[in-house]
C-alpha cells in the first residue's frame, strides 16, 4: 500500500458512539461488537455471522438466495427448480450477472426460471405431488443431465420431503436429481445457503467421473462466480500460463466439471467464505491441497500466479508465468499512471460479500486510494481475523442446523499430492497452504471494520467521512448517491467489468477515475443557491 497518502481523519471512536446512540441499548450493545476501529498493534476480535437484529435494515439475503442464486446460479446445465410460491423463483431469475459460455452444443438453462408456483392448496395438502409433476415436465421439455430442487420457506414447514422426491425421480428418470434444503429462514445470511449448496454438490456430483483431463498442471478454482466475465479473463490467463483448469466452483461451470474436479492436483480458493470447507473436504477425501489466492488486483494476481508456480515447481511453468506477467503489466502501469493523479489520496469504503470487501482493497491501493471502512455482508470470523481463530469458534444454534459433512479418505480416489516434507519445504519458500489471514490484518490503522452494516450505519459513515467512493450493492446504490457520493456496485459491477486479473484491473482503475471525478456531482447545488447575485454567465469553463 505504498501509494497511500496521509490524510487527517475524524475520530473513529466518536463516530462509533454517534452511530450507536440511535439504537436502543440492547441493540447498541450487540452492534458495538460488530464494529472495530482498527489498531493493528492489537488483536481486535469482531463479532460476525450472527443474526441480524429484526427491524435493522440489513443488506443480507437469505439461505435460498445464497444457495440457488449465488452458488448454483452460474452453473449452466443443471435445471434449477424452485419449490415454493412464485416470488423466490422470480427474484432469483437471472438477476446476478454471472456469465457462461456453453459453446455451440452445450446446454444453458440459466435464462430459465422454473418454479412449482405453490398455491394455497399445496400449502394445506402438501406439494410433493406437484413437485414430482414439475420434475417430470422439466425432464420432458429439456432432457437435462441434472435437476436441482430448491426448497423455499414454506416447504420445510409443511414437511414436503424434497430429498425423497429427488431420489424417487432420479430412479425413475435415470438422471442426477438432488434437493437443497435451503429454506430462507435457515442460518443467519446467504452464507448458510452457500454451505448447503456446496455440500450437496459435493455429495451428489463430485467424484462421479474419473476421466482425467490432459495437462501437466491440473487445478480447480474455488469460489469464483464469473460476475461480469471475470472467469473468462482468469481462464485465459491460466491457459497462457499452461495451467489446466479442471473445474470452477462455480463461475462458467458445468456439472461435468464438478463431477471430475477430484482429478485436479491443486485447489485455488478465491472467496474463502463461500467455499473453504469444500477445499478442506476435497483435501481430506481426495488429497488435493489448497491455497488461498486472489485474482483481484494486478499485484495480487501476479503474486498468486507465482505461488501456483512454486507449488508445481516446474521450470517451464515459472517461465511461462513470468512471461505472462511481463506481457500484462505494461498496460496496467500505463493505466495507473494515467489515473493516479486523479485518485491518489482519496478514500474508499467497501461493504460487500464474504471476500470482495477484502480483495478490492488491493485495487484501490494500486491507484493510491485508501480503504477507510470495510466490512462483509455475510462472512464469518475467520474471514476477518484469519483461520487462526477457527479452533476457538463456537458453533451456535444457527450454524448447527447447517449440515457438516463427515468426510473420509476415498479408498480409490485418494491420492497424496504432496508429502508433509514437501509441504514444509513449500512453506519455507513462502507458499502458505491452507492459510488465510483475513481482512483485518491488511487494513490500515484507524480504519473502520463493520460487519453486516445497516442502512443507518452506512448513512452515518458517509456523513462523517465523505468518501470519494462507496462500494456495495444495488440496495445501497441510490441511498449513497442521494448523499452526493459516487457509488460502485461490487456485486454486479454496475453492469460493467470484468475486474479480475490484469485487464480487469485496468478496467477498474479507469472506471474509478470516471466515477470519482464525474462532473455530475458538482451539479447538485444550483448556482442561485451559492451565488444569488449572478443572473447569467457567458463564460464557458
Amino acid at each position: 500500500m505504498e501509494n497511500v497518502e496521509k490524510v487527517i481523519l475524524p475520530d473513529g471512536e466518536m463516530i462509533k458512539e454517534d452511530i450507536l446512540a440511535k439504537y436502543p441499548p440492547k441493540v447498541a450493545k450487540k452492534r458495538n461488537k460488530s464494529m472495530v476501529f482498527n489498531d493493528p498493534s492489537k488483536d481486535q476480535p469482531i463479532q460476525s455471522n450472527v443474526r441480524t437484529v429484526p427491524g435493522i435494515i440489513t443488506q443480507r439475503g437469505c439461505c435460498y438466495a445464497g444457495c440457488k442464486g449465488v452458488v448454483l446460479g452460474p452453473t449452466r446445465d443443471i435445471i434449477n427448480l424452485t419449490h415454493g410460491p412464485i416470488g423466490c423463483g422470480f427474484y432469483s431469475w437471472l438477476t446476478r450477472r454471472n456469465q457462461t459460455r456453453p459453446g455451440p452444443k452445450g446446454d444453458n438453462y440459466m435464462p430459465y426460471c422454473f418454479s412449482t408456483d405453490m398455491q394455497d392448496d399445496n400449502i394445506v395438502f402438501g406439494g410433493e405431488k406437484k413437485l414430482k409433476e414439475a420434475i417430470q415436465e422439466a425432464y420432458d421439455i429439456f432432457h437435462p443431465k441434472a435437476i436441482g430442487i430448491f426448497a423455499t420457506c414454506p416447504v420445510g414447514l409443511i414437511g414436503d420431503d424434497i430429498h425423497s422426491v429427488a431420489k424417487e425421480m432420479k430412479e425413475k428418470l435415470g438422471i442426477n436429481i438432488f434437493g437443497f434444503s435451503c429454506e430462507g429462514y435457515k442460518g443467519v445470511s446467504q452464507s448458510a445457503g452457500h454451505h448447503i449448496a456446496n455440500n450437496q454438490i459435493f455429495k451428489h456430483v463430485v467424484g462421479l467421473d474419473d476421466k482425467k483431463k490432459k495437462g501437466k498442471f491440473l487445478i480447480n478454482l474455488l469460489g469464483e462466480y464469473n460476475i461480469g466475465g471475470d472467469a473468462f479473463l482468469i481462464e485465459d490467463l491460466f491457459e497462457r500460463c499452461g495451467l489446466t483448469l479442471v473445474s470452477t466452483f462455480s463461475g462458467n461451470s458445468s456439472i461435468d466439471q464438478f463431477a471430475n474436479c477430484h482429478t485436479a492436483d491443486l485447489n485455488l480458493v478465491m472467496c474463502h467464505r463461500s467455499i473453504n470447507y469444500v477445499a478442506d473436504m476435497m483435501e481430506k477425501k481426495f488429497g488435493i491441497p489448497w491455497m488461498k489466492i486472489n485474482f483481484i488486483g494486478a499485484n495480487a494476481s501476479a503474486a498468486s500466479l507465482r505461488q501456483i508456480g512454486k507449488y508445481f515447481d516446474d521450470k517451464d511453468l515459472y517461465q511461462r508465468i513470468e512471461k505472462v506477467i511481463a506481457e500484462e503489466m505494461p498496460a496496467v502501469e500505463a493505466a495507473r499512471k494515467e489515473v493516479m493523479p486523479h485518485t491518489k489520496g482519496e478514500l474508499a469504503m467497501i461493504f460487500v460479500g464474504g471476500s470482495r470487501a477484502h480483495h478490492y482493497q488491493e485495487l484501490f491501493a494500486e491507484i493510491g486510494m485508501r480503504t477507510i471502512a470495510a466490512g462483509y455482508e455475510f462472512a464469518h470470523k475467520d474471514d476477518y481475523e484469519g483461520r487462526k481463530v477457527l479452533p476457538s469458534l463456537k458453533v451456535d444454534a444457527d450454524s448447527r442446523n447447517i449440515e457438516e459433512l463427515v468426510v473420509e479418505k476415498d479408498p480409490e480416489r485418494y491420492k497424496l499430492r504432496k508429502t508433509q516434507e514437501e509441504l514444509r519445504k513449500l512453506e519455507k519458500s513462502g507458499v502458505r497452504m491452507k492459510e488465510y489471514d483475513g481482512m483485518i490484518p491488511e487494513m490500515v490503522n484507524k480504519s473502520f471494520i463493520i460487519d453486516d452494516i445497516s442502512q443507518h450505519e452506512t448513512d452515518m459513515l458517509i456523513a462523517k467521512y465523505k468518501p470519494a467512493v462507496f462500494c456495495a450493492g444495488i440496495k445501497e446504490k441510490y441511498t449513497v448517491q442521494k448523499n452526493g457520493v459516487p457509488m460502485k456496485q461490487l456485486h454486479s459491477y454496475d453492469y460493467g467489468g470484468p475486474f479480475a486479473v490484469f485487464k480487469g484491473a485496468v478496467n477498474f482503475y479507469k472506471e474509478m477515475d470516471r466515477t470519482i471525478n464525474s462532473r455530475v456531482w458538482g451539479l447538485i447545488k444550483p448556482p442561485w443557491d451559492s451565488n444569488p447575485e449572478i443572473t447569467a454567465t457567458f463564460v464557458l469553463e
Binding site: Y23, P24, V27, T52, V53, P54, G55, I56, I57, T58, Q59, G61, C62, C63, A65, L81, P85, I86, G87, C88, G89, F90, Y91, S92, W93, C113, F114, T116, D117, Q119, D120, I123, K130, A134, E137, I141, C153, P154, G156, I158, E183, G184, Y185, K186, G187, Q190, A397, D398, H456, D459, I462, I474, K475, K477, Y478, T479, K482, G484, I524, K525
Partner: protein, 456 residues
C-alpha cells in the same frame, strides 16, 4: 403446452405489491414479517426499477422463529424501526413463511400496542399477503384496502372539525400500479378540474425523487396521514383498474360506509378509456374539461390518423399486470393493431371477461391467457407471429428470440433507463406510448430495409 411447473413467471409475489403501496404513504416504513430474504429480494427489484433508495424492514426469521412463532421478532422489529426512523406509520405485511406457520399478527400487534401505548407509537397497518395466493397485484390492492379501512376506523372517532373546509371538492383516487409519472399526471388533471385529490398510494415523489442536499431517512412525499383520515370526506371515489370490479375494493368499502359515489374505471389508456375518465371528472367536478386536455386529445387523434399507415393490421402480444393488459389491448384495437395474444400470470377472471367483450366489439381474434408464464406465451407467439410485444422487461428474451421489438410498459423494467418517468395514462400518456410503438415499428422496418432509407 399446459404445465404444472411455471416456466419463466409472468407475475410477482404479493408482499411486493403491499410494500409498494406502503412506499406511497408519507413517513411509512414497510415491514415484511418473515425471512430477511423477502425484504432483500423485493428491495432489489424496486431499486433496479425505480433507481431510488427503498428501505423495507424485515422481522428476520431464523429457524427457531419459524418453530416458535414470530411474535418476539415482530415486536423487536417494530421497536427498532421506531428508534431508527421515527416513522409516522409502519406497514406490516406477511410473507408465506409467517402465513404458513399461522402467526396471528393482528393479535401480536394488539398486544404490542397495549404494552407500548398506541397513543405514542406510530400507526401500525397490517395486511395479510401470503405469496402462495394471488400475484403482486393482489398484495397491492389488499394493502390499499387495509390502509383505507384502518383510517376509516380511526377517523370515526376523530373530531369532525378535523376535516377542514368541506366546500372544496375532494376526490379519493386509487390509481392502481402505475408509474410515478402517471400519478403526477393524474394529480395535475384533477387539480385542473378544481378538485383536491388524495391518492392511495402516492409514490410519485418517494420513488422518483430529486437529488438531496441533506440525507433523508424516509424520502419526502407520499399521502399524508391527515389526508388518509379525510378519505371519508371525499366527495367522490375514483378507482382505476378493471379487475377491481370483481373485488372487494377500497373504493367499494368507502362507498358503502360513507356514501360517496365510487367510480370504477379502467386504466385510462387510449381515447375511449381516457374519454370515460375525463367524462367522469366532468360530472364529478361540474366543470368543463379544461382546454389543454381537449387539445391533447385532438393531437392524439391527429397522430392516430397520421401513423395509421404504419400500424394498421399489425399484431401485438400484450402481457403483464391484468389491468394494464386490458387497457392496452383496448388502446391497440383503437389504433388498428390486433392484440393477438393477451396474457397475465394472474387468475384474471375480470381480464378475461373484458377482453372477450373487446374481441367481440372489434371483431378481433384475441387469444386470452390467464395464469400464463413466458414459455407459454412464447409457444403461442411463435404461431401467432406478432409484429411487436408490449409489456415489462421480462419479455426481452421473447423479443430477442422472435426478432421483434418490445415496447416497455409496467413492472419490472430493469433493462432500460427511466422506468419511473414512463407515462402511460390519459391522452398525454397514450400519446407517448403511441409514439414509442410507431417508432419501434418504423425502426425495425428501417433497419431491415435493404436500401437503407432515411425517409420512412
Amino acid at each position: 403446452m399446459n404445465t404444472t411447473v411455471t416456466r419463466n413467471p409472468c407475475k410477482l409475489c404479493s408482499p411486493l405489491g403491499a410494500s409498494l403501496v406502503f412506499k406511497g404513504i408519507r413517513g411509512t416504513i414497510p415491514l415484511l414479517h418473515g425471512s430477511q430474504g423477502c425484504a432483500t429480494y423485493i428491495r432489489r427489484y424496486f431499486i433496479s426499477h425505480f433507481r431510488e433508495p427503498v428501505d423495507i424492514a424485515s422481522s428476520n426469521f431464523v429457524e427457531t422463529t419459524s418453530i416458535f412463532g414470530g411474535a418476539k421478532n415482530l415486536c423487536e422489529a417494530l421497536e427498532n424501526i421506531n428508534e431508527q426512523y421515527r416513522p409516522e406509520i409502519i406497514g406490516v405485511a406477511t410473507t408465506c413463511l409467517s402465513e404458513t406457520i399461522g402467526d396471528d399478527v393482528p393479535l401480536f400487534l394488539n398486544n404490542f400496542l397495549k404494552k407500548k401505548g398506541s397513543e405514542t407509537f406510530p400507526d401500525i397497518i397490517f395486511v395479510s399477503t401470503p405469496s402462495y395466493s394471488g400475484t403482486h397485484m393482489d398484495g397491492f390492492h389488499s394493502a390499499v384496502k387495509s390502509i383505507v379501512e384502518y383510517y376509516s376506523h380511526l377517523c370515526e372517532s376523530a373530531d369532525s372539525s378535523f376535516f377542514g373546509d368541506r366546500s372544496e371538492k375532494s376526490v379519493a383516487v386509487f390509481p392502481n400500479f402505475v408509474s410515478p409519472a402517471d400519478i403526477r399526471h393524474l394529480k395535475e388533471i384533477i387539480l385542473d378540474f378544481g378538485m383536491k385529490p388524495v391518492f392511495v398510494p402516492d409514490y410519485s415523489q418517494t420513488l422518483d425523487g430529486v437529488s438531496w442536499n441533506k440525507y433523508e431517512k424516509i424520502p419526502e412525499g407520499g399521502t399524508s396521514r391527515e389526508n388518509l383520515m379525510s378519505l371519508r370526506e371525499a366527495s367522490f371515489l375514483l378507482e382505476l383498474g378493471n379487475s377491481l370490479t370483481g373485488m372487494d375494493s377500497a373504493g367499494k368499502f368507502l362507498e358503502s360506509k360513507f356514501g360517496s359515489k365510487n367510480y370504477g374505471l379502467g386504466l385510462p389508456i387510449g381515447i375511449d378509456l381516457t374519454d370515460d375518465f375525463f367524462n367522469s371528472l366532468k360530472i364529478i367536478s361540474g366543470r368543463k374539461i379544461p382546454e389543454k386536455y381537449i387539445a391533447q386529445r385532438g393531437r392524439l387523434v391527429d397522430a392516430y390518423c397520421d401513423a395509421h399507415k404504419y400500424l394498421f393490421g399489425k399484431k401485438a402480444v400484450v402481457f403483464g399486470e391484468e389491468d394494464m393488459v386490458v387497457s392496452i389491448a383496448q388502446f391497440l384495437c383503437e389504433i388498428g393493431v390486433i392484440p393477438v395474444l393477451c396474457a397475465s400470470g394472474a387468475k384474471g377472471s375480470e381480464m378475461r371477461k373484458a377482453l372477450q367483450q373487446l374481441s367481440q366489439k372489434y371483431k378481433n381474434e384475441i387469444v386470452i391467457r390467464t395464469k400464463a408464464d413466458f414459455v407459454g406465451i412464447e409457444e403461442e407467439a411463435e404461431i401467432l407471429k406478432p409484429d411487436f410485444l408490449i409489456g415489462n422487461s421480462k419479455g426481452y428474451t421473447l423479443s430477442r428470440k422472435l426478432g421483434i421489438p418490445l415496447v416497455r410498459v409496467g413492472f419490472p423494467i430493469h433493462d432500460r433507463f427511466g422506468a419511473s418517468r414512463i407515462l402511460h395514462l390519459c391522452y398525454k400518456g397514450t400519446q407517448e406510448l403511441f409514439d414509442r410503438i410507431v417508432n419501434a415499428i418504423v425502426a425495425k422496418k428501417q433497419s431491415e430495409s435493404e436500401a437503407g432509407y432515411t425517409y420512412m
